[in-house]
């Protein structure tokens, strides 16, 4: 099976979707001629022409708004917002139009769009190139929210997202593009070519939306994570020697609650991990669900390890980033309770 980076896997997914379905169109800032700042669309304009893969002005509201119009009339746009931090001008269109057009048109019009955006920190991007704004979208009914953590899932989930009849917000943790970053920034990252999840089927396949995956089997404590934090949690389990069961949520909406409940009922302990800020983060929803569904199985409070409630700092990136040490401490606390 071929080896791919997450970038190549995403490109392969878009390529296959475009090949199979002429309704799929791909656009965004620098996406066409240049092939995307992270190269996720490199070569697609050459292959499919400028009417199917093209550049847009720097105009996120315009990109998303026109995509919604296209989708309402039968196309399947897969657009890129260059950084998740740039999505806010488009937020109105996503919330008020994309997420609601099905409901308010009595199902006559739908919005099958995918909005891809690189998210997360660890690249010294400062406050406007590092954010993880997933909770702003999980709070909106009518959307699906996906966060892959490896090339195989990225490809399968993206094809599924493009196939999906509803709007999908597709976050790509940019620190994972080239390898499974585990928070040890002082060490080189293992490239995907040397990781089993870098093996990606060259053809068409899907990873269903709404299905989590247990990434590490364990009996002591359940860790709920997604994106980069999956590898941070793996490192923390390794380094503390705690037999954690690590669940990679993969999609936040719809959420695989069955998988979570089954695991927490088994372990009796739960730690939620994400890179975004703490207050009203997606971890709050997870903690609430866990206590609702697993209260009588819990032997410790549900812990949360997240970014601090501050803007993403430039200088103190690694103080902000919830690395393996902080996750490890939370695991120890959960075990000691």
């Amino acid at each position: 099976m071929p080896r791919m980076t997450m970038i190549e896997a995403i490109r392969s997914a878009i390529d296959i979707a475009m090949e199979r379905d002429r309704r799929v169109v791909v656009f965004g800032e620098d996406v066409g001629y240049f092939g995307g700042v992270f190269r996720c669309t490199a070569g697609l304009q050459q292959k499919y022409g400028r009417t199917r893969c093209f550049d847009t002005p720097i105009s996120e509201l315009g990109i998303v708004g026109t995509a919604i119009g296209m989708a309402a009339y039968g196309l399947k746009p897969c657009v890129e917002v260059q950084f998740a931090d740039y999505v806010y001008p488009a937020y109105d269109q996503i919330v008020s139009e994309a997420a609601r057009i099905r409901y308010r048109s009595n199902g006559q019009f739908t919005c099958p769009i995918v909005i891809r955006m690189p998210s997360g920190g660890g690249i010294f991007g400062g406050q406007t190139h590092s954010q993880s704004p997933e909770a702003l979208f999980t709070h909106v009914c009518g959307l699906k929210v996906v966060v892959p953590s490896n090339p195989r899932d990225a490809k399968g989930l993206l094809i599924a997202a493009i196939d999906d009849p509803d709007p999908v917000i597709f976050f790509e943790p940019k620190r994972l593009y080239n390898g499974p970053f585990d928070g040890h920034h002082e060490r080189p990252v293992t490239p995907w070519s040397r990781h089993p999840l870098g093996e990606v089927d060259a053809g068409h396949f899907t990873v269903p939306l709404g299905k989590a995956e247990v990434r590490r089997k364990g009996d002591s404590v359940t860790v709920l994570a997604y994106g980069t934090m999956v590898y941070v949690a793996e490192a923390a389990a390794e380094e503390t020697g705690i037999d954690a069961e690590i669940i990679d949520l993969r999609t936040l909406l719809p959420l695989d609650l069955d998988c979570i409940v089954e695991s927490v009922r088994k372990t009796g302990r739960c730690v939620v991990v994400h890179e975004a800020t703490l207050t009203s983060g997606f971890g709050a929803e997870l903690a609430a669900l866990v206590q609702e569904h697993c209260f009588y199985h819990l032997e410790a409070p549900v812990g949360r390890v997240t970014g601090w409630d501050t803007p993403y700092p430039h200088a103190q990136e690694w103080d902000y980033f919830p690395g393996p040490a902080r996750v490890g401490e939370a695991l120890v606390r959960a075990m000691e309770a």
Binding site: E29, D30, G32, Y33, F34, V37, D55, T56, P57, I58, S59, L61, G62, Q82, D85, Y86, Y88, P89, I123, F124, G125, G126, Q127, T128, H129, W308, D309, T310, P311, P313, H314, A315, Q316, D319, Y320
Partner: protein, 355 residues
């Protein structure tokens, strides 16, 4: 690509202005004045200021290469005449706000090179104590309102600053800079409408360096004459040779006078060029080496002034060398400070989130 370059150079050759009555008036006065020549002092001043920006940016590029600066770093090399010429047209109290290619603006506003460089390296002596980084720093003292990492976001803010000027009845003008890329953001036009409606003292300076990140102007803009972008709001505009600091200053004076006298906003499209990639990770493969080389050789803003200093003002090699040495000294001091200054305390993480 070649077509785009030809188109751009054609429009370079024929500066035009919008055809509103106000604009025609402004344009005709511009033509009468032509490009004012500089005094020796002005040329020397412009030379020193532009050279400081260039050497600072070259040093920043080096320090990035050495790993001392991380993340994002957008160099202003090639565009120096724009901000320097504009600053020469301002008076005390005028404000400046810009996007992420901001180091030059800060130096031209008189901010300390040490503080700017230390922000790039994320040290506590940086203007935002290292927490902002290259794109996010400010100086209340120098009326510099940032440094904004989101493309186009500063345009609305600059409009608001101009509103505050009007409200407070001071006679300051807010110089609001953005690029050809930002000019396609929706909020720019919401701002234009309000600025003209309320006659706000703001000058919109569009630094058209021909590429919005990796996308050439002609591939992203339906109207590539940015001076016309205010036409439907009746905002006058003109295209300016942004590589000639004298032309910039002259246009800046006209625009600032217009805004200061209560006539409302004014648009200046600065036709300029960035020599480097969009950011440090951009190899700039979307344009030819020849194109960059031609701009450097034929239009370099600093070289133009240097030639005048030698040919017209008869400055000796030694005099020029003294200026160069002084500039290098400032830049080296800044680099040394930014390398040795400590990082902020971890406790600093939570300061200035709220009061």
């Amino acid at each position: 690509m070649a077509v785009a370059a030809r188109k751009a150079s054609r429009s370079d050759a024929v500066p035009s202005a919008v055809k509103s009555r106000a604009a025609r008036k402004a344009q005709s006065s511009a033509q009468k004045k032509g490009v004012a020549s500089f005094t020796k002092e002005e040329d020397l001043f412009a030379y020193r200021e532009m050279l400081l920006i260039r050497r600072f940016e070259e040093k920043a590029g080096q320090m990035y290469g050495m790993g001392l600066i991380g993340g994002f770093c957008h160099l202003y090399i090639g565009q120096e005449a724009v901000v320097v010429g504009m600053q020469m047209a301002t008076k005390e109290g005028d404000q400046v706000i810009t996007g992420y290619r901001d180091h030059g603006h800060m130096l031209a506003c008189g901010m300390d090179a040490k503080g700017v460089m230390a922000e790039l390296t994320g040290r506590r002596g940086g203007y935002s104590k290292g927490k902002g980084g290259s794109m996010h720093m400010f100086s209340k003292e120098k009326n510099f309102y940032g440094g904004h990492g989101i493309v186009g976001a500063q345009v609305s803010l600059g409009t608001g600053i101009a509103f505050a000027n009007r409200y407070r009845k001071n006679d300051a003008v807010c110089l609001t800079y953005f690029g050809d890329g930002a000019a396609n953001q929706g909020q720019v036009y919401e701002s234009f409408n309000m600025a003209e409606l309320w006659k706000l003292p703001v000058v919109y300076i569009i630094e058209n360096n021909r590429y919005a990140m990796g996308t050439a102007v002609s591939r992203a803009s339906a109207q590539t004459d940015f001076s016309k972008r205010g036409a439907s709001f009746n905002i006058p505009g003109e295209q300016v040779d942004g590589m000639d600091v004298r032309a910039v200053k002259a246009a800046g004076e006209r625009a600032i006078e217009w805004a200061r006298s209560g006539k409302g906003p004014y648009i200046l499209e600065m036709q300029t060029y960035r020599y480097r990639g969009h950011s440090m990770s951009d190899p700039a493969k979307y344009r030819s080496k020849d194109e960059v080389q031609r701009m450097r050789e034929e239009h370099d803003p600093i070289e133009q002034v240097r030639r005048r200093l030698i040919d017209q003002w008869k400055l000796s090699e030694d005099e020029l060398k003294a200026v160069d040495a002084k500039v290098r000294e400032i830049v080296n001091e800044a680099a040394e400070f930014a390398t040795n200054d400590p990082e902020p305390d971890a406790a600093e993480l939570y300061t200035d989130v709220l009061r």
